[in-house]
Amino acid sequence: MRHTAATAFALGALCTLLVAPSRGASPLSLLQAARAREMILGLDLEDARRTLEGQPSEAPEIPRERGRLALYEADCDAAASALAPLALAKDEEGSMLLDIARGCARVTAAVVEDRDDASGVVVRYQDEADRALTPLIVETIIKARTSLSRDLGVTWPAPMRVIVVRDLLSLSAMTGLPYESAQTTGTVAVAKWGRVTLLSPRASQHGYAWRDTLAHELTHLAVTRLTVDRAPLWLQEGLAKREEVRWRATGPFDDRPSADAVARRGIDKKLDLPLGNLGPSIAMLPSAEAASAAFAEVTSFVRFYATTAGDAALKQLLAELRGGKNVDDALKVASGSDLAGWDTKWRAEIMKRASEPVPGLDPPSVDPKALSALRDRVRLTELLFGREHFAEAQTELTQAARSPIVARDPSFAYLTARVTERAATAELARASVADPVRVAGSYGPWWAVRGRLAQSAGDAAVSEPSFIEAVGEDPFSIEASCRSLTPAAPALSPPASALCAAARAASEPDLGRN
């Protein structure tokens, strides 16, 4: 394998030498630049630094790689300085890198940084109010690294860099992902340039599964390191979807809806794309629905591959890609069949499944007027609750509950629990959120009210995991992080207490008071 890798690198370097513009660059410099690039992409940044040391800067390749290295080391000011001359020289790749370096420099200017040297984690926060997340981020990274090392055999460079940004615009500036694309597909994190850029959970009104997202992005970094960024998109995303939940215990909403079901739906609706033609990023697909179908497709496919060929075949596939083989050759070596062969097998397996509606993606067809009336009813319930007219809120809620649309809606279940707690009894309210199977998907406030109600009933077996799930979704919800809606919160550990204080500082109004 080592021999193949060396040959591939030599060929690559030779090609670089042949096609590289002369512009006064010595062949040795170009060779060093190509080597440094490989090292940077493989996240061996120290090696890359040593390789670039003392190299002359006449040819654009050397400053370009220096800039790239600085970008990977999160030194965006230095990256911008190194790359600025390339933009003047109209170096296309250099200009692209410069744009990202400048965006990064702008977004990370004067941000605060939390460093956990023992764990090899450095987290920067665009909004310092997010610093309360540090213990949870570090914990997630440690667990995910362990899980990924186990599953993929990856070793980790130190430090692991995470930047928590406040909005999609900053995410876009940091990563080069077009803003429109980020908005369209609802991208919340990107693993690129040797780091994870994560959208703060406070950006979304009720948060999102940010800890799983972090694990997902770490998988991307692992695959990039293992393959020197040669893994195809389907493998990257498929593995990331597979690994994003393997760092923790299985949850009630994992694989709900099932990736196979969504993939089948995508095939039925002709939303599926050829695995080898997913484009540069799923985040750049034209719609959230297309992105969802693509995610399901690659998740289902990789799961099928791993299940059928085994974990060893997965590791070998990555190794072959690192060696420079193309996907088909690598798949053949690792598993005896090329991509087309695996695709055929997978599709045959998927098509054996019966088509089924996917909650969330296939809402029951409803008369728009009825939907509008339901929305009004729900809003009235919230408003009456907000003004503490609990009985009247219950009246409205009862009418709204007649609609089949809300039967498995976690947000309606949350509303029901809150209203019932005040209008009837806490016991009834607890019953309304007792079973995760009764709701279609994970929802931070639902977990939070479930935890709080269970806590008040002394049921720690339910409350603890509920609060963990709630914080994993919506850490800046007072109910989730303070485990109470009143200022008199129960005694919390120092990190949890800091998170509770951050949630209170966010001062989101309670239900019906917005």
């Binding site: 420099a105 702008r106 977004v107 200017a109 004067a110 941000v111 665009q126 909004d127 310092e128 109010a129 406040r166 909005d167 999609l168 615009l169 900053s170 500036a173 908005q183 369209t184 597909t185 609802g186 991208t187 919340v188 994190a189 990107v190 959208l199 703060s200 406070r202 950006a203 979304s204 009104q205 009720h206 948060g207 999102y208 599964a209 940010w210 799983d212 997202t213 997902h216 992005e217 990331a240 979807k241 909403f253 992105a291 969802s292 969330g360 007027k369 929305r375 009004d376 809003r379 009235l380 408003l383 009456l384 003004r387 007219h389 009247e392 409205e396 976690p410 998907g441 989101e508 917005n514």
Partner: protein, 979 residues
């Protein structure tokens, strides 16, 4: 060894020898003493005179040359005397001097005899007797011929005498060439720092005059040489006189500058000194680098034109704009010592400045008084979030140093935080919403009792609550919140819903049944949802517009940080940075109260501000600037931090997160949607109807026969002439906007327009202009009648106006008659087109009727709009019938009436509400920014006829003569545009 002879020591030759030589020496020297002294004196004098004349050139070289000549001459004389003295100490040289030339043989013999003695007077040969040797020498010397020596001495003395005479003649000649020049030379040669020590007069009877600058309109005045004077800056001081010594370069000098004298053409010289600063003027003569000044100086004090003084009533003071929507009244008085040119109202906030002209004056007015009202809704106030300095500045007419501005003390207006008025408005809406939520809870909680009395009590209670909420609604809708109000369209929506709620309440009060109670519950719920929707929608818009306003402030923060990095600007940069930080902090607080998006943006502002301030505090200005730019970039995209553009919130469904429900709806529910739909229908109807009117006008215009127009043009020439003559006695220029002359001039202008329209064959415009001219004449007559200051003039004007009106009226009637005839003919020709238009008009009437009916059923539009729609429908039907009949004139009148009703309906929805316009303007800027940065759909040419119709109407309107009533307003408007 022979000792060196001491040349300075006289040789001791013995008494005999010395006696023999002494006699000859005495004779020689006595003969020459006087002539030689005379020659030396004459030489010295000549050299001195020449040196002074040379020194008078005044250059450094000349002065050095003169001094050198004197010194050299003296040295030469001294050397000669010294040499002479030495000759007389040496017997050998004495013999040469006395006899060497006249008796060489005797002299040689004497020298040989003398050589027998050495330097000490002893015989050179030691074997010889000294006595005998000396005796021999004495005899040899005595043998020199005394007469011959005396004769030689006399000849030499004669030569000295002749030389002295020649030198004296030369000296006299030199002096007589420039006698005063020697004196000047003497003065110049001892000059220090370019000035000779001794002053001299240069002008005979100098005359001094001063002419103040033209703009002061003051007379020329005489000054006395040597007397102090005070003159306005820019005055020209003239010195005139006859030069006492010809050929001198004379100039006026104040210690710094010189103005040369020039020939005045009358045998005198003159110099004109422009007074720029206080000075001590004197006449000087310039000799190279040296001047010889006149002893008399004339001190002149320059009086500067003072800056205007402006007093602003009530200044200095501070006022908070948020506390009152009352306008800021500006009253000022500006004065100047010489004249005012302009008075400006100046508004400054941060780096922004706006100047508004309060008065333009003739430059001679010494005092101006006036006022101005700054509304709380003034655009400058709206855009400013840093303190605003309001000052009045006046400019004088000083052309010498350039106009100077004088400024009043400032009234400092403290604007509200960005978004503060909007937050107040939102708070009011929230209070209203809460009231209706409570009302909803009340009607939900209280079912109708069975007992009539209890039922009555409940309905009374509900009615009372309803009335209370109605009052709160009125108050909410009519209040101005630090300059912002509820938009007209929103007011219309809420009033329409309130109207429905009223009806439900009245129905229950009339007949309290389960059905009416259910209807009341429904109406109350709807009202609650509409207010809630309005509030949240308003919050969303306010958050966006506030964010857009904060963009400029964030840019300013960045500029402040950038300035702080530059040497010399650090202090200003720091101040700018601090001011922007304060404004952003205020904006952050206000945004937090603007709903979901507002809280989101508030957090973004807070986070970025902390970064920038942290970096700034650490002196890391480059990163402070970057953080500020990051904030500005964020605020330029006031979208939710996560979620689609335009939504109020977002819920992540990202790359790896699980998909979940979307954000909450910020809309106003069914009622608002119905309102918006109806409003859009009305908008479309009004635009299409305006287009239909245009179609009829176009059809009539196209149906006009060229022959008819040509015939009219032929007849019109005479009438046009008559029209011009009728108004010939009216003034061409008015003397003020409220004077009869102004109205008279307007009437003349309008009549001229009428005449031109007639000549162009355009009777419609001619009639309109003619009627406007008659109106202007009526106004002129009224003003003339009430004017008391010019009674005679007014009486005469009345007669002139009457005469003009008497002549113009029949011409207008004639044009109107021609127009009627043309239209009748055109109507007949355009019959088919008109009938087609009639059918179209009928359809529009149907649409108006249906819209009115639907709005009444749904309660989606307020009552005045529905009534106006009904009126419009009826008028459109009448117009359609008139078009069917081919009665184009009536049809057009009815169509215009119908259009007015449609416009009235639109106005009832707040379409033309001023606050709407302000809000739209503010948001328009924001949207404009979006447009520049992002995509904008370009409508197809046929997609929307509004702009085309509007352009058509504007072009037509501009082509028509304006009425005299609006003339002044139009003029002011046009001036405003030009300014």
């Amino acid at each position: 060894m022979r000792k060196p002879r001491d040349r300075r020591k006289k040789r001791d030759l013995g008494r005999d020898v010395e006696d023999a030589l002494g006699n000859f020496t005495f004779l020689w020297r006595a003969t020459l003493r006087v002539p030689r002294a005379r020659a030396i004196a004459a030489l010295g004098t000549l050299v001195f005179v020449l040196a002074m004349l040379l020194a008078r050139r005044g250059t450094a070289g000349a002065r050095a040359g003169a001094i050198a000549a004197g010194v050299l001459t003296a040295a030469a004389v001294a050397v000669m005397l010294l040499r002479e003295r030495r000759i007389w100490m040496d017997p050998s040289r004495i013999i040469d001097r006395l006899a060497g030339r006249a008796m060489p043989e005797q002299a040689a013999r004497a020298q040989r005899a003398l050589s027998l003695l050495d330097a000490d007077g002893q015989p050179a040969d030691g074997s010889v007797s000294p006595v005998l040797t000396r005796l021999h020498v004495a005899r040899a010397l005595a043998a020199l011929p005394g007469d011959a020596i005396a004769g030689e001495a006399t000849r030499v003395a004669r030569r000295f005498g002749l030389a002295a005479l020649a030198l004296t003649v030369a000296t006299i000649a030199a002096i007589s060439s420039n006698p005063w020049g020697v004196v000047e030379g003497m003065d110049i040669i001892v000059a220090r720092s370019g000035a000779a020590p001794v002053g001299m007069p240069w002008l005979d009877n100098p005359v001094l005059t001063a002419r103040p600058p033209d703009y002061l309109h003051q007379e020329e005045r005489r000054l006395r040489l040597g007397d102090a004077a005070q003159l306005p800056r820019g005055s020209v001081i003239s010195f005139r006189g006859a030069p006492l010594h010809a050929g001198r370069k004379l100039a006026l000098y104040d210690g710094v500058d010189e103005v040369p004298f020039v020939d005045d053409g009358a045998g005198k010289v003159i110099a004109r000194w422009p007074l720029e600063r206080s000075a001590e003027l004197r006449v000087v003569a310039r000799f190279g680098n040296v001047r010889i000044e006149d002893a008399d100086t004339t001190p002149v004090k320059s009086l500067s034109d003072l800056s205007p003084v402006v007093e602003l009533e009530g200044a200095p003071r501070q006022l908070k704009l948020v506390e009152s929507a009352a306008p800021v009244e500006i009253r000022y008085r500006a004065t100047d010592d010489h004249g005012l040119r302009e008075v400006h109202l100046v508004l400054r906030s941060g780096a922004r400045e706006e100047r508004r002209v309060l008065a333009k004056l003739d430059g001679e007015t010494l005092s101006d008084r006036g006022g101005y009202v700054l509304k709380a809704s003034d655009a400058f106030f709206k855009k400013s979030h840093a303190p605003i300095a309001i000052v009045v500045e006046a400019k004088d007419n000083d052309p010498i140093t350039g106009p100077k501005w004088g400024a009043s003390a400032a009234i400092t207006a403290i604007p509200p935080d960005v978004g503060e008025p909007e937050t107040r408005r939102l708070a009011a809406l929230r209070t209203l919403r809460d009231a209706y939520v409570d009302a909803t809870a009340h009607v939900l909680a209280n079912a109708l009792p069975q007992l009539p009395a209890a039922r009555r009590a409940l309905t009374d209670q509900e009615d009372a609550e309803h009335l209370k909420n109605g009052l709160l609604l009125d108050e909410t809708l009519s209040t101005s919140y630090a300059g912002v109000t509820i938009a007209g369209r929103v007011r219309a929506l809420l009033r329409a819903q309130a109207q429905k709620l009223d009806e439900a309440m009245r129905a229950e009060v009339r007949a309290p049944t389960a059905a009416t109670h259910a209807a009341l519950i429904k109406a109350t719920e709807t009202m609650t949802l509409v207010v809630d929707g309005v509030m949240r929608g308003q919050g969303l818009r306010d958050a966006r517009s506030s964010a857009k306003q904060l963009v400029e402030v964030a840019d300013d923060l960045g500029l402040g940080a950038a300035q702080s990095q530059r040497a010399g600007e650090a202090e200003r940069g720091g101040q700018r940075f601090s001011a922007a930080s304060i404004v952003l902090g205020g904006g952050q607080r206000q945004l937090a109260a603007m709903g979901v998006l507002g809280r989101d943006l508030s957090g973004a502002v807070g986070a970025a501000l902390k970064r920038a301030e942290r970096a700034g505090t650490a002196g890391d200005w480059p990163h402070a600037e970057l953080a500020a730019r990051d904030l500005a970039a964020r605020l330029r995209q006031p979208d939710p931090s996560f979620g689609a553009k335009g939504s109020g919130s977002g819920h992540a469904s990202g790359e790896s997160g699980a998909a979940a429900g979307g954000g909450s709806d910020e809309g106003g529910g069914e009622a608002e949607r119905a309102f918006n739909e109806a409003a859009q229908d009305l908008e479309n109807l009004a635009q299409e109807h305006a287009g239909a009117i245009g179609d009829v006008e176009r059809a009539l215009s196209q149906a006009q026969s060229q022959d008819d127009l040509d015939a009219l043009r032929n007849d019109a020439a005479e009438h046009a002439k008559a029209v011009r003559e009728a108004l010939g006695a009216m003034p061409s220029i008015g003397t003020g906007s409220d004077s009869w002359t102004s109205k008279g001039a307007a009437s003349k202008e309008l009549a001229d327009q009428m005449a031109r329209s007639l000549e162009q064959g355009n009777p419609a415009d001619a009639v309109q202009s003619g009627r406007s001219a008659l109106q202007a004449l009526d106004e002129a007559r009224r003003i003339a009648q009430r004017t008391r200051h010019f009674e005679d003039d007014a009486r005469r004007a009345g007669a002139r106006i009457e005469e003009a009106r008497r002549k113009l009226e029949p011409e207008v009637d004639w044009a109107a008659k021609q127009l009627d005839e043309l239209r009748k003919k055109a109507s007949q020709r355009a019959g088919g087109e008109l009938r087609k238009s009639g059918a179209g008009e009928e359809k529009l009437a149907d649409r108006a009727g249906k819209l009115s009916e639907k709005a009444r059923e749904q309660g989606s539009l307020p009552e005045p709009a529905i009534d106006a729609l009904g009126e419009a429908e009826q008028l459109a039907r009448d117009a359609a019938r008139a078009l069917e009949r081919g009665d184009a004139e009536l049809a057009m009148r009815l169509q215009h009436d119908a259009q007015r009703q449609l416009e009235a309906a639109r106005q009832a929805l707040g379409q033309d509400d001023g606050q709407d316009e302000a809000d739209r303007a503010r948001e328009g800027k924001a949207e404009g920014d979006d447009g520049a940065a992002g995509r904008a759909d370009i409508p197809k040419a046929d997609a929307h006829k509004g702009p085309e119709e509007f352009r058509r109407r504007v072009v037509k309107g501009l082509a028509q003569p304006g009425s005299a009533r609006q003339r002044d307003a139009i003029k002011r408007y046009a001036e405003g545009l030009l300014r």
